[in-house]
Assembly symmetry: C2
Homo-oligomer: 320 residues x 2
């Protein structure tokens, strides 16, 4: 169902992420204005949308959705003048983002929502130079933006609850799964987790323990299979047998002190233990570990049938 408050959307900055947003907005039936000062931007945008479109058609377009409902507008003032929501995706440099957001804030309608796709910067920092910072929010998506549903929503000190609520409803209306994060930290939540794995992967390659292909294999044939279904907590909850996370944390006490990974582990205090165990129990209220295991197994079987078509060597005449 389309948002009642957001009717016209403008995308500022059109790299991989900006173009992903354009494709998603178009597929959900919006009129989209795109702006980017780079030479040849319009050609690159239209080619990127053309690449994404077959996937979006397979997934099912909203009524009236069309690639042709995209307008390229080189002038920022014209591009944002009538927008109800502006999605900013300029390169990840604080100074640049602050400047562009302040420009948008000055040029946009006073009640327009201004959302930044920043993967790392805090909203309080980004909204600092805006005259109306209460409508500035972080809305951080994941590649490919036109398919992956997660969007992290983070308000800054000046952001109103109403802005967060309107944004949440809007992103839900375009079939996303907004995760509202109440504490501002660099990298929000998902990118901190991805960064952790990414840095450890770089260490493994740097130390000559594994090639990039081996690191990737160690994910896709193992832990990666489960992560579309269960995050790190639920995964371990199910690895602990009938006692679940409680047992895992008892086992983990000593293991966390081992020099696995180059990441410093937090002290496993009683408070942290309780937070984690209670969290997992809340997530699974009313379901036995056996029920959860059977659900996981049913999923894994279907997933692996699906992956037969996609894993390395399965298609494209060779390895991926």
């Amino acid at each position: 169902m389309k948002s009642t408050t957001i009717k016209q959307v403008t995308v500022v900055g059109t790299g991989v992420i900006g173009n992903g947003w354009i494709a998603r907005f178009l597929a959900k039936g919006y009129d989209v204005i795109a702006t980017d000062p780079a030479e040849g931007a319009e050609v690159r945008i239209r080619s990127s949308i053309a690449n994404a479109w077959p996937a979006l058609e397979k997934q099912g377009l909203a009524e009236g959705a069309s690639k042709d409902r995209l307008t390229f507008e080189p002038d920022l003032a014209n591009a944002v003048a009538n927008a109800d929501l502006i999605q900013e995706n300029v390169p990840e440099r604080e100074e640049l983002k602050r400047k562009v957001l302040a420009d948008i804030d000055r040029l946009a309608k006073p009640d327009a929502i201004i959302a930044s796709s920043t993967s790392g910067l805090k909203p309080s920092t980004l909204q600092a130079d805006c005259a109306k910072p209460e409508r500035v929010i972080v809305a951080h998506p994941f590649n490919p933006v036109y398919l992956v549903p997660l969007v992290e929503l983070v308000g800054g000190e000046a952001t109103t609850t109403e802005t967060i609520k309107t944004a949440e409803e809007f992103y839900q209306s375009i079939d996303m799964k907004p995760l509202v994060i109440s504490t501002e930290i660099e990298g929000h939540v998902a990118d901190r987790l991805m960064e952790a794995i990414w840095r450890e992967a770089l260490h493994l390659v740097n130390d000559g323990v594994a090639t990039t292909e081996e690191v990737d294999a160690a994910i896709i044939y193992g832990p990666g299979l489960r992560w579309a279904l269960m995050g790190p907590f639920l995964t371990l909850h199910l690895a602990g047998g009938e006692q679940g996370m409680k047992h895992m944390l008892e086992q983990f006490g000593p293991a966390l002190k081992l020099p696995w990974t180059k990441l410093v582990a937090p002290e496993l205090t009683e408070e942290l233990t309780n937070k984690v165990v209670d969290g997992c129990e809340q997530q699974t209220t009313g379901h036995s570990i056996t029920q959860l295991e059977q659900r996981r197994d049913d999923f894994l079987i279907e997933l692996m049938q699906l992956l037969e078509k996609y894993w390395p060597g399965a298609n494209l005449n060779g390895k991926i």
Copy 2:
């Protein structure tokens, strides 16, 4: 196709991992002997196999495979006497594992393969007290062992190439994806990556940034969707636009210095940059970024259709 050299398999230690191995071996048509000194072990093993069996039936059993081809044998000497491969899964304590492996080594046939499921310990350490250490190897699986195909194979200083080769063929024959790791480190490869994400997740909960449920949501609706198809390297290769990993590393240079995650990042030297870029290019030889993107998109669409049945709230009358 069944292994020609491995005919009888014995599983020593029957927690979640040991029972997972028993279920996989049985489903692939092996006679299995299980041993465990714990009170009531046999009852727990048979109940665990009964839980796993419906999934294995759905996946398809090998000819002649049966739950009834499991024999419980309380005496270790009798249990390992005729085994061609012994899979050890006792608790993750170095002293205990070394003792049990030395006992198995003393009691088993001289040419039997002895494989330890250790998730963290190095094979050179584990084989130190064995009289015939050349046939001792790490074969580290992932939960649920009866479905997830990854198994990390690591030889110690004394392990022969022949042992590694025989083990590799055996695990392949039971439909696994062996990853042979030539450098011994604590946690091998996959668990180092999982540990990194796990520790960061604990920090997020500890610092009050997110609940366990929010951390899990930040994975399953976003990055987790891609990890069944692409590891961390290929994922970033595709996030970098037409320039792929090369572009990502240029962008990442500064970001790696930011205090995201509590993990210390390696210096992005020219050597490391080359290793990573070359690795990604080798993995994708002959395929354009656009082809890779279309393959990824096709996968994601099918995966999300599948996940509609499994994601939180979709079944089991409530959230998971």
